[in-house]
Symmetry: C2
Subunit: 510 residues, 2 copies
């Protein structure tokens, strides 16, 4: 049998790279096939059965399943995004959009996930490099260096840097060389704005993206988090508390260093202010994304922007703030969660059920405990944490492309999570491998998670010769990089405006 019967015809007209997929992967084991017509969406079929990747699998009675070809795996939402974007950004808390998964939402989760992934793909992790801890690319070339992202229509507004007083192994990278670009700072991500006008029209608004870098592999930092809650101090309510390590990373600055003479917090606030002014009168959205520790910073910065009232235009119109959070830990206490809700921050937390990071901190008291409010307010239990927002829980054991791995760094991998989003049909629909549009090879960029039969090298994302090039004299060198910009010259000005405005609002409120 040379060609495989198409049991599920995809609406996306997906072309798989057959070269890397044995033809047997297209067969479904009839024994495990369970078809259920979802009453809410009659053209949708479920994919709770998985294609069995064994050549021994035989379809005993193919005719029996012929009618399935009439169905489509995923229903496509034909409404244009620019008409429904507030919903996709969570205005209704993604009600009815997650089960079954709305096609626009799936696409947007993946798109924003790629903004977070870009922080890994561009970061210089090599402690032997004198640029260790920086972004490998200058801001103006950032998206064009990241393959397909050149087509996303965004431009970097500024890079984000942070310094830290706490120990975050394998997150905070320090160069082993004495003459490094900075002894204090680490590149943490970026603020970008959609500038391609066609894309602005497609999205229905001018979108501002903040993307935070996280941790790719080594997860020891979750043990190093002291779980100590620290008052956020972004409002005058001291009962709103966040984990002290995240607070430190977000707020610490170091005058002696060009890159962290403003804290990450100050960089964010001033830049949002600047962009708001640059595009005043336009419809705006703020979308914040991050993976792992970056997801914590995403939520923290979302809260900060809202708490500082930066999510209002000069005309008093509210700018929606959405957090697409991937594999994120808990960030603050129940009070923090309630305040985020009150401020109208929309958070979609995408997690792999086998990942441990989203389960910390707050193992002893968290949002699953009915009495958390009581514990927090009356017992003053100091290790009480609550997740914010809506959870989209995925399971890598459901993807037939992935190994049944128990490796925690696999379960925590962002590319793998985006792959799971890609095949996710809905809560009871399982993983639909015949509808996946996203290149499965991306999963193995920085892990060893794809089944071996796909022939994709593990950890394949790497620079040629680690950036070494042969100079004119034939000798190998690491070429000098252009100095990275530290802060836009008007950072202090905009920051001052932010705090003035916040003070005024507080006075008003009083």
């Amino acid at each position: 049998m040379a060609s495989s019967p198409k049991l599920f015809s995809s609406f996306h007209n997906t072309t798989h790279n057959l070269q890397r997929r044995p033809s047997s992967s297209h067969f479904l084991s009839p024994k495990k096939l369970s078809l259920q017509i979802n009453p809410n969406s009659p053209t949708l079929i479920t994919c709770s059965s998985l294609p069995i990747l064994t050549s021994k699998t035989q379809i005993q009675n193919p005719l029996k399943y012929e009618k399935q070809e009439k169905f489509q795996a995923f229903k496509e939402d034909n409404r244009p995004l620019n008409e429904i974007w507030p919903e996709i950004q969570g205005s209704n808390d993604w009600d009815t959009l997650l089960d079954p998964m709305n096609s626009h939402l799936r696409h947007e989760i993946i798109r924003y996930g790629e903004f977070a992934q870009a922080c890994y793909d561009s970061f210089d992790f090599d402690p032997r490099s004198k640029y260790c801890g920086t972004c490998k690319y200058q801001g103006i070339y950032f998206f064009e260096k990241l393959d397909h992202m050149a087509n996303y229509g965004y431009q970097i507004s500024r890079y984000l840097y942070a310094t830290s007083n706490i120990n975050l192994p394998n997150f905070f990278q320090r160069s082993k060389l004495s003459s490094v670009w900075s002894q204090h700072a680490n590149w943490m991500g970026y603020v970008a704005v959609v500038t391609d006008e066609q894309e602005v029209r497609r999205l229905g608004r001018r979108d501002i993206v903040i993307a935070w870098r996280g941790t790719v592999t080594y997860l020891e930092w979750i043990h190093d988090l002291k779980d100590i809650l620290h008052p956020a101090h972004f409002s005058d309510d001291p009962s709103i508390k966040i984990e002290s390590g995240f607070f430190d990373l977000y707020t610490t600055k170091e005058d002696a260093c060009d890159y962290c003479s403003f804290s990450a917090r100050e960089q964010i606030l001033s830049d949002i202010k600047r962009i708001k002014e640059r595009y005043q009168g336009e419809e705006l959205s703020i979308t914040i994304t991050g993976h792992s520790l970056g997801a914590a910073l995403a939520l923290l910065s979302a809260y900060d922007i809202a708490e500082m009232g930066l999510n209002y235009t000069n005309m008093g119109k509210k700018i929606p703030i959405t957090v697409f959070s991937f594999s994120g830990p808990r960030v603050g206490n129940l009070k923090f969660k309630e305040r985020c809700d009150e401020l109208g921050i929309k958070v979609l937390r995408v997690v792999n059920v086998h990942d441990k990071v989203p389960k910390v901190p707050g193992i002893f008291a968290n949002e699953k405990n009915k009495h958390q409010k009581y514990i927090e307010e009356h017992i003053s239990f100091p290790w009480s944490y609550a997740h914010v927002g809506i959870e989209l829980e995925l399971d890598h054991m459901e993807s037939p492309f992935l190994k049944q791995s128990k490796d925690i760094s696999n379960a925590h991998n962002l590319e793998a999570l985006l792959h799971l989003v890609d095949g996710y049909g809905g809560k009871d629909l399982g993983f639909c491998s015949s509808a996946t549009k996203r290149d499965i090879a991306l999963v193995n960029k920085s892990c060893d998670f794809l089944k071996e039969e796909y022939g994709v090298p593990a950890y394949w994302r790497q620079d040629e010769n680690k950036g070494m090039v042969r100079g004119g004299d034939g000798r190998w060198i690491l070429p000098e990089r252009q100095r990275l910009d530290s802060h836009p010259p008007d950072t202090a000005y905009h920051l001052e405006q932010v705090f003035k405005f916040a003070a005024k609002s507080t006075l008003k409120a009083l």
Copy 2:
């Protein structure tokens, strides 16, 4: 002090890449400086003192050392290579050429070492690749893919393949994919001939190179060698014995496989025969090189070619056979060594004194034991091994560029060994860092051996994205490679001729 005083002015007019070398590296600690005028070469100064790489080092009285500038670190042999090449190839067993090191010889050791290194730089080690175990490049593009080797003026005559019945972890690479190019064969190296006529003139002869691939890192195979001696059977003297693992690798064939339907031995013999005929009437040389396990195969094949009488032209003129062996183990018994000497094979064994591989097999009985001959002949001790040829022993602790590493894979590294040859002045001259011409960055290609202050990434030699590229549809794939040639069509014919000739010689001898 911005510029550094030139204590040793090199004849080579070496320009160091200052960017990667702190200027302090040019200072010599006066306390450790010991100058000895070598009576045999009055213009040579010794470099037994090493530059101390610390910014604290200060030269207390620079004037005291000014006269040193008149000296040169290494004496240059101004005779053209084409006049003295037999000597450089070992016709006098490198007598007087090694101490002090002759400049032509240093250059030639490095050049042939690079032919061996090319086998590592081009080998596909990735078990996830369907081309695992092959050369990454087609023969016609081989040297041009290897950076500077395009200028060497050689062309590949054929690739060498082998199969094996024995267990050689991390040497014999098998793909994890089911549809691999061959389940049996591994690419083992190549035969090449100098074809650039200008280079032929410079060398003084048409040189044939055989280069064997070895093992880069993981050295467990030295424990797996069974140390069992096997009669070589290339002559009618059964007392000439070689280690059975090397014998197996060199002689095993597998009819079911295109690539190893001829054994490595048969591939070598037939190709040397072909090349000899192609260039008959010309002055020829055969130079065989290899590192580690490849060094063992180099010696074995040198012996074989000589034993089969392939080192004579049709006119009866002897073609010199030289082995430049790097980090090689012992190969055969004392009888084997004596036969190699008798056949006139010239072997220069370059080793790092801290490397363990050249110390095996034959820990119990080897050439250092005065009674080896008695032990071997009268007691028939079955684990008696002898090194063949002249040893050039180097010491990585003497290079100021390298870490004082005790890592055995560093001590066994070929690029590091070539670096040591580069700075080697002679037995008591130590390492002369101010005369090194070779790019030190090469050392770290596949190890972590250079001191960190040079800012060269460790293990930097790598392909961009492990060879993955984005296809037209935007998906990442490992592109298909052109099928590699197995054997030239006239292999069987030439092989038949070789054995006919050998049989005739044996009859004559009888």
